[in-house]
């Protein structure tokens, strides 16, 4: 790892002013991606600003409309939360599939969503549930947030302070993990809310997380496995690598979509 300077932020405002003062700063959530990336010298920020001690970014709040999760909440806190289990069990299930128990004890939802890894789990839940990303500067709809591979609508000094997930009528998640990394080779999050169905796919698309319009159109307003039986997905937008061809992933997305619908 190249040399860097560590700064611990005490509040969101403090974090933002520390970022402004830095030459080439990076915010640090749990560090489950940033630290390995720095160790491999693929990232070399001059300064890292640790958000782990910002009290305003902790906690999970439930109300009639859904769940609001602080940007600094860890994956294991989401997986174990009684409020999340009651309102959106698919979200709790998804959080429990990320990495391994030790990674889940440290990694945060804000960090994962801001990083927008094309095979991460959380982006599919944000897009599938139509979440709102709340930052220190504004609120961004998930549909406008995920721009491309590791790219989001966030500005350099913008921090995800919380994410609001509206409560769906039904939702489900199914993931086919890469057997080595446990990242998704295809992960599909389906949600039905007031006659509207959303299908979000991670791990398979060429541009990262996306909504699968062919499956959404076939499902119409409700989740039923039978409705997508005859569909075959376009492989031209799918990722191809040593783990699977784009045709393989196109089929995997459909299989995972069926499992997610069954689980919902």
């Amino acid at each position: 790892m190249y040399e860097t300077s560590y700064h611990r932020a005490s509040s969101v405002d403090d974090a933002q002013s520390k970022m402004k003062a830095a030459e080439d700063g990076k915010f640090l959530g749990g560090g489950m991606t940033l630290i390995p990336t720095m160790k491999q010298r693929l990232a070399a920020p001059t300064d890292i600003i640790d958000l782990a001690h910002v009290g305003d970014m902790k906690g999970i709040k439930a109300d009639g409309s859904g769940i609001t999760i602080g940007g600094g909440v860890t994956h294991s806190e989401v997986a174990d939360s009684a409020d999340v289990k009651a309102a959106i069990p698919a979200l709790s299930y998804l959080a429990g599939l990320i990495g391994d128990p030790h990674v889940r004890n440290r990694g945060t939802i804000g960090g994962s969503v801001a990083n927008n890894d094309p095979a991460a789990d959380y982006p599919s839940a944000c897009l599938g549930l139509g979440a709102t990303i709340i930052t220190n500067q504004r609120q961004i709809a998930a549909d406008d947030f995920f721009v491309g591979l590791f790219e989001t609508a966030l500005n350099e000094d913008e921090i995800i302070t919380a994410i609001h997930f509206p409560k769906p009528a039904k939702a489900g998640y199914a993931k086919f993990p890469n057997p080595a990394s446990r990242y998704a080779m295809a992960g599909v999050f389906v949600a039905e809310t007031g006659g509207d169905v959303r299908v979000a796919v991670t791990g398979a698309g060429n541009d990262g997380v996306y909504r699968e319009s062919a499956l959404e159109a076939a499902l119409g307003g409700s989740l039923s496995v039978g409705a997508i039986d005859g569909i075959s997905l376009d492989a031209s937008n799918m990722m191809a690598d040593m783990h699977g061809s784009s045709e393989y992933r196109a089929n995997l997305v459909k299989v995972m979509a069926k499992r997610a619908i069954e689980a919902a």
């Binding site: 790892m1 040399e3 560590y6 990495g99 391994d100 128990p101 030790h102 990674v103 440290r106």
Partner: protein, 155 residues
């Protein structure tokens, strides 16, 4: 360089570290607690697992400065003098190790697992929760047996 103060295995320690120093480097090289191992150094294998504020974490994927002010427990902190911790005892009795390289991380992961699930830890849960700990000798079978036995003992 930054001065950090933390509690390690019940004792207050402090040290001056380069900000890029990993927690595992601080534990091994500065504190000379070499029971915590570095296996893969890429967050996969779990040989470096320690408890930070009561939760299992990978000390190769954390900076020492991030642990400033925290309470850290390493494998050296589990036994009560000459009396082994129940998880350590169970690994010995059930032959839960061969070369032993992964064992400190396995035991720290197992302790965290038992703290969360209690005595009703079933085999399926143990196997699933060992996702972040790699052993290349045992085939996991006796590790799983050891953890189940320790959970019963501790429950």
């Amino acid at each position: 360089m930054t001065v950090i103060n933390l509690t390690v295995n019940g004792s207050e320690v402090s040290g001056e570290v380069d900000d890029r120093t990993l927690l595992v480097q601080f534990i091994r090289d500065q504190l000379r607690l070499t029971g915590t191992h570095v296996g893969c150094d890429t967050s996969q294998c779990g040989a470096c697992v320690v408890h930070v504020d009561g939760k299992a974490m990978k000390s190769c994927t954390m900076l020492a400065v991030q642990a400033d002010g925290s309470d850290v427990t390493t494998i050296e902190g589990l036994a009560d003098g000459a009396e082994l911790h129940p998880v350590q005892k169970a690994f010995r009795e059930n032959h839960g190790l061969q070369c032993g390289f992964c064992t400190p991380g396995m035991i720290m992961a197992a302790t965290d697992m038992i703290n969360r699930h209690g005595k009703d830890l079933d085999e399926e849960t143990i196997r699933e929760e060992l996702e972040g700990n790699i052993c290349r000798c045992t085939g996991y079978h006796n590790i799983v047996k050891s953890i189940a036995a320790a959970a019963k003992e501790m429950g």
